[in-house]
Structures are given as structure tokens and as C-alpha cells.
Symmetry: C2
Subunit: 405 residues, 2 copies
């Protein structure tokens, strides 16, 4: 069950002027399941995105990158679940292009103004005719206050839908930012993300928007992992409609960036809280490193260790496993005598071994919590990094031993 | 249950002249469990070893390295289970030295002639007085045909004991090689190994012996992974007693190396077959790479993917997960259109997607086997690498959610 995460409240998801969302049941994998989402954009909206670094990236990722590069102005995003259209070779590319062409016809725009996205099983042909057949229903359904339904339409093994809204005041004007995301397994975004869509009514020029989405991704989706598996289909899109009175420029940028990163972080953390089989939400704070790379190396070594993850599932403070993970993280000159390990506020290890003050019952107490922070103070530099992950339970095995069937 | 692995036959484990082994119940963690092994060596025996690269390496690893460097001639190895003496700081170093000093007194040699080894829980103080108290019992028990009992005495979560013997004829003389190993979880030896001890009655000079153990480790223990966790205590020791008439020199070296590597490989594969919760033994053959590093990167990405491992547990040919793992392995210029993926003899993927000839029932058939080969043909170079791993089952979670308690 998701860790301290509940379904978003529909009324709290604020419409973004210039964006409308439509849902359909296209029957891609199962009947009577919302599996198709169209996000329609008015003219002169800017869109930027970051994508998976997986070499087996999905056909829609390749097509979306191409269409963004053409820079004709994006008029719609089309997202299907139930099939990833990844590992599908030339046919997959054709199917992604057909999806765009058919939607472009219905919306009266060019094919290059459509961005396609898919998520689901890898290496199976995309049922493109079902997607095309579902488009009219989704178009008929287009509404600006449809974020709640949209968040549900992109779910796969997610138990809870993921959405977040913020408003910021800039120069007396209110700007709205609303986003949705999906993902639960195959989560280890690498300089990219799982599926995430964030829109704002601020006006932001394309190059700046690209910088802002990259920066938001690096501090949010690129700091989470469930199972260390980097998906073939990760994408985070940032949409700026410019329908508010505010254009983001140098002065407002930091505040706007903070608000966007804030929404992205909430969406990214929601993916971990709803991680497949998760029973614990774990924050990893690695402090006092020489650079971000070594902090992340240590953080991910802990976050990916099946031994650490199963100990957390068992609420067993078998914390030597964390030391072992730190030790094999690949930081060659790490002095283990200098570092300190904390579990929330409890000092666990220092001077290369268990802290004198450490009491098993303190470890036990923290391990019972559903939200836990592992803090590693390296004491060799000024750089910190924060990552988020979850534990590893019977249910992870169960979900992934049966997902396809 | 171990995958196609049975307990070694005691009578097939050949004594090695110059080596005797003694076992005791020292009560380190549990009563009535063989948990202490002493391997006594006659004079003028050469010993070489490779050790974990984990920065949190255990105190006994540090002491063993020191004592090997002193080069006074090793007279005994002492191995305890139930406690790793890792993450134990200064006290751990004292405890490892005390262990050596006390055994040296009993055997009438110098402390530097003893090599200590520990395996078990991390970050708990070594019960050194129990180990010392158990030594007389182990010494009394010293016998040359005790390899079978010794293999049992070093087990932790292992279900089956691991041992192997070979004989080779060199210039009309017969040389014996016998080895034991242990390990089941926290298995991802990194230029080192889990606990392994191999002895031969050949005469091999120290520098050559060191080269040979390194080479054997690189082709055996350094090619296995159960869970990607590199232990704090990994060690592979190679002992050459010189009691046979044969001294290994240039001419015989290749043949002798092959025999040692063969024993090491059988012991390493036994660890994977007895991997925690394993139901499948998976061989990963990565062929046609530019160098060994990229072959191993791709092999380990597949071997460590929880999604791949759980699909194999389920006997579900959800093979797109293998493509995803290849894609995120970190080979930046990998052309996925060129590679071919096979499951045993079944061609699964080519041209960036599912092979035209692939039939789901062929995948199903291979997935039912307990021994399966995943073959990735990269078609970009001349280098191959072979790794061995196992699947990921409910029992892995069960074992590691309860190991300490």
C-alpha cells in the first residue's frame, strides 16, 4: 500500500488556462479502463521536456524529441497506457508516427505539432488502431478541469493517482502550476524521469523553459529510485501557456523555478510512496561530500541494496548492511573512520564502527516508522545530495512476477 | 532450494598433503553449530589471496592483508561464522589481532603467521573469548581428510556446503587441488570474492601464486552476483603446499591455472546455485563487445535488474525487461538495432525489436528450465564475457527480512 500517500483531491487541482485534457477507454490492454489521455494546448504555448537516457528508448520518445526539435509549436500530447511501444523496432516508429498523424487530422494541425507517449509492457506491438479509434472519445471529453481524471488515465501498476497544484504570486499576478505523474516500478530515472506533465499559465520562452524543466528534473525525478531499473519511456514535460499576465524573466526566475521544482518533487516523491510493494518511504541525505557525484553514488548504493531494502521492510535495524553499501559504492578514497551514519536523529555509526551511544531500542523505534531518513555525513567536502527510495517487500516480487499476465 | 546443486560427496574431496583442517562448536551465535574452522599448514607452504574492495572492509581482511605482506610464512587460517567483525572500528582490529595471537600461542608460531577470517552479521562486536575458547577443540580435531566437515563449518545462510576437488597430471606426477567456499547472499564480488579456500600440493612460488589466484578469481568469483551487494569480508585464498614432487614453472603454468580456475568456477557457481531464495541458475553470455568492461556492464545490468530477476522467478518470458536493462547499462554509443538477444537457442530480439521468428511458446519453454542462458550478441567487437546469477524470489525477501533475528 502507498506510504503516507492518498488520492489527490479533485477540487484542489487547479486548471491552467490554455490546457484542456480528455480521457478515453481505448481498450488497449483491458476493457473498461481509462487508458488514453489527450492534453490539448492552445496556440503559442511553449513546451519543453527531458527524456530517458535508456539506449533502448521507446519509439514515442524518439518521435517526441524530433517533434520538439522541429519547433512548429506543440498543439497536443497523446499518452497511452498498457503498451510501452519500446523494443518494437521500425514498426514501433511507424506506429508512433501514425498516432501523431491521426490525431493531427482530428485536431486540424500538423503531425509535428503532436507529442506521443506510451507506457506499459515492452517489446509488444502497439495496438495503434485501438488508440486511433479512442481519439474521438477523448477529444469530446476535453475539459480544463480534467486533471484529476487525467492523473488516473495514465496509471499502470500505480495504486494511487499522482497530481499536485501550486500558485505563486509574481508582481501582483497569480500564476498556477499543475502537474500529474505516473510510475511505480522500473523507477530509476537517469537524467530524465518517469512520465510527468506539468503545466503553468506563465509565459516562458522555449530556451528558458528547457533549462527550467532540466533543473526541476535534476532535483526531483532524478533523485528517486524504486528498483534501479531505468525505464525505456521516461519523460517529464513542462508546458507554459502564457495565458496569465506574467512573463518569466531574470528577476522572477528563481521563484518560479522553486515553485516548479516543488510540484515536480511532490510528484516524484508520490511515485516512491506508491513504489511497487512499498511499505516504507526512505529519505537519503548524503552530506559533506566532495561533489554531487560521490554523494549520489553512496545514496544510490544504499537505495539499490536489496539487503538494506529488505531489512527496512522487516523493520529490522540490521544497519551494518548500510555500512557495507557505503563501502562498495565506488568512492575509492573514502575514509570510513571519518563518516557518521544516522537513522533519523539516532547516531548509529562513527569511527568505523557502531557508535558507543547507539542503543538497539533506538534503532528499533525509528525502524517502526513509515517515513525514515538515513543520513550519512561524509565530512570530506561541502556538497550534499538528497534521494528518495522505498523498501523491498514480498509484494514487489508478487507484482513483478505477475505484471504481464 | 539450491538449483541443481547437491551436497558434495565426502569421499570425493581429496586431502592435500601439508594441509589439515579442524572444526569446533564455539557457540558464537548459536549453540551446537560448527562455527569455527582452523586450517593448519606445514612449514614452507605458500599462500596468496585476493580480498574485498569494499571500503568498509572487515578487520580480519585488514589483518590478513598485513600478515601476508609480512611474509614470514603462514602456518594457519582461522575462520569463524556468525559474526563478520566488520564495521567494528578499532575494537574489531584488536579482536582480530587477539584471535591471531591466541592461536599462534597454541600452535607455537608467530602471530603474523596466522590469517583471520570472519563472516556473519556486520557491526556487532566479535565474541573473541568464545572463539579463543573453541580453538583447542578445533586443534584436537585437525585432520587432512576433513574438507567435507570444513565446508559445512563455514556456512551461514548457505543451504548446501560447497567443495570441489581435481587432480591434474603434470610430467608424470599427480597434483591434487581441493577447495571449499561459502556464500549465498551479499554476493557481488568485486575484484575479490566471497570466502573461498583452495589448496594444492604443487609447489608454487609466492609471486606466481598471487598471479594465479588473481586470475582464477577474475574468471570465477568475480563473475557471479546474487544481489549486487559486495560483502565487507570477501576473500579467496590459494594455498600451495609443495608436498607433491611438482614445482609449477612456465611450461606447466597454463594447465595448472586452468585446473585452479576450474575448481574456483565450480565453487563460485555453487554459491549462485545456492543463492538466497534462488530457483533458477542463469548464465549470461555477452558476446562481441569492444572490451570486457562493456560486456560486464551489460551483463551486470541484466543480472541486477529486480524486474528481470522476478520475471525469471515467475518463469514469465517478459523479455522486454532484458532489453530495458541492456539499454540503461551505461554503454553510451550502443546501437540497439545491431544487437541480438537469445534465450538459450531461441532468438528473441533483433533489429531493435522482437524477432519475427520469435514465438511466445518458445520463450515459455525455455523459462520453465532451472538452468537458462541469456545470450546477448553485441556485434561491435571481439570480446566476450560470461557471468552467472540467479532469480529473485519471495524467499530472498523472507531470508533477508529475518536473517539477523
Amino acid at each position: 500500500m502507498p506510504v503516507n500517500l492518498s488520492t489527490p483531491v479533485a477540487a484542489q487541482l487547479l486548471p491552467v488556462a490554455g490546457v484542456s485534457l480528455g480521457i478515453a477507454e481505448a481498450g488497449i490492454k483491458r476493457k473498461a479502463r481509462k487508458d488514453l489521455l489527450i492534453i490539448a494546448l492552445e496556440e503559442d504555448v511553449t513546451v519543453a521536456g527531458v527524456f530517458t537516457t535508456n539506449r533502448f528508448c521507446a519509439a514515442p520518445v524518439t518521435v517526441a524529441r524530433e517533434h520538439l526539435a522541429v519547433n512548429k509549436g506543440i498543439r497536443a500530447l497523446v499518452i497511452n497506457t498498457g503498451n510501452a511501444n519500446a523494443g518494437t523496432g521500425e514498426q514501433g516508429m511507424k506506429d508512433a508516427r501514425t498516432t501523431c498523424a491521426e490525431l493531427a487530422k482530428l485536431l486540424g494541425c500538423a503531425s509535428e505539432q503532436i507529442l506521443p507517449f506510451s507506457t506499459g509492457v515492452i517489446m509488444e506491438p502497439l495496438p495503434v488502431s485501438k488508440i486511433v479509434a479512442g481519439m474521438p472519445q477523448a477529444i469530446e471529453n476535453l475539459k480544463s478541469d480534467n486533471w484529476y481524471e487525467a492523473a488516473h488515465a495514465i496509471m499502470t501498476t500505480d495504486i494511487v493517482a499522482k497530481a499536485a497544484s501550486r500558485q505563486v504570486k509574481l508582481g501582483g499576478n497569480t500564476i498556477t502550476i499543475t502537474g500529474i505523474s505516473k510510475g511505480s516500478g522500473m523507477i530509476h530515472p537517469n537524467m530524465a524521469t518517469m512520465l510527468g506533465y506539468i503545466a503553468t499559465d506563465a509565459k516562458i520562452a522555449q530556451p528558458l523553459l528547457q533549462e527550467m524543466v532540466r533543473q526541476a528534473a535534476d532535483k526531483s525525478f532524478n533523485c528517486i529510485t524504486v528498483d534501479g531499473d531505468t525505464s525505456t519511456n521516461d519523460a517529464l514535460m513542462l508546458i507554459a501557456t502564457g495565458k496569465s499576465a506574467v512573463e518569466i524573466n531574470g528577476a522572477d526566475r528563481a521563484e518560479m523555478q522553486a515553485a516548479i521544482t516543488d510540484v515536480a518533487t511532490e510528484l516524484a516523491q508520490a511515485i516512491v510512496r506508491d513504489g511497487e510493494g512499498a511499505t516504507k518511504f526512505i529519505t537519503l541525505q548524503i552530506e559533506g561530500g566532495k561533489d554531487e557525484e560521490e554523494c549520489k553514488k553512496i545514496g544510490y548504493a544504499i537505495a539499490h541494496s536489496p539487503l538494506v531494502k529488505t531489512a527496512f521492510f522487516a523493520s529490522d535495524p540490521n544497519l551494518g548492511r548500510i555500512l557495507a553499501a557505503i563501502g562498495y559504492a565506488g568512492v575509492a578514497d573514502l575514509d570510513v573512520v571519518k563518516l557518521r551514519l544516522y537513522l533519523d536523529d539516532v547516531l548509529v555509526a562513527e569511527n568505523g564502527g557502531r557508535a558507543m551511544s547507539y542503543q538497539e531500542e533506538d534503532g528499533q523505534r525509528v525502524m517502526q516508522q513509515s517515513d525514515i531518513t538515513i543520513r550519512v555525513v561524509l565530512d570530506r567536502g561541502e556538497i550534499d545530495a538528497t534521494l528518495w527510495t522505498c523498501d523491498f517487500s514480498y509484494d514487489y516480487v508478487k507484482i513483478n512476477a505477475s505484471y504481464r499476465s
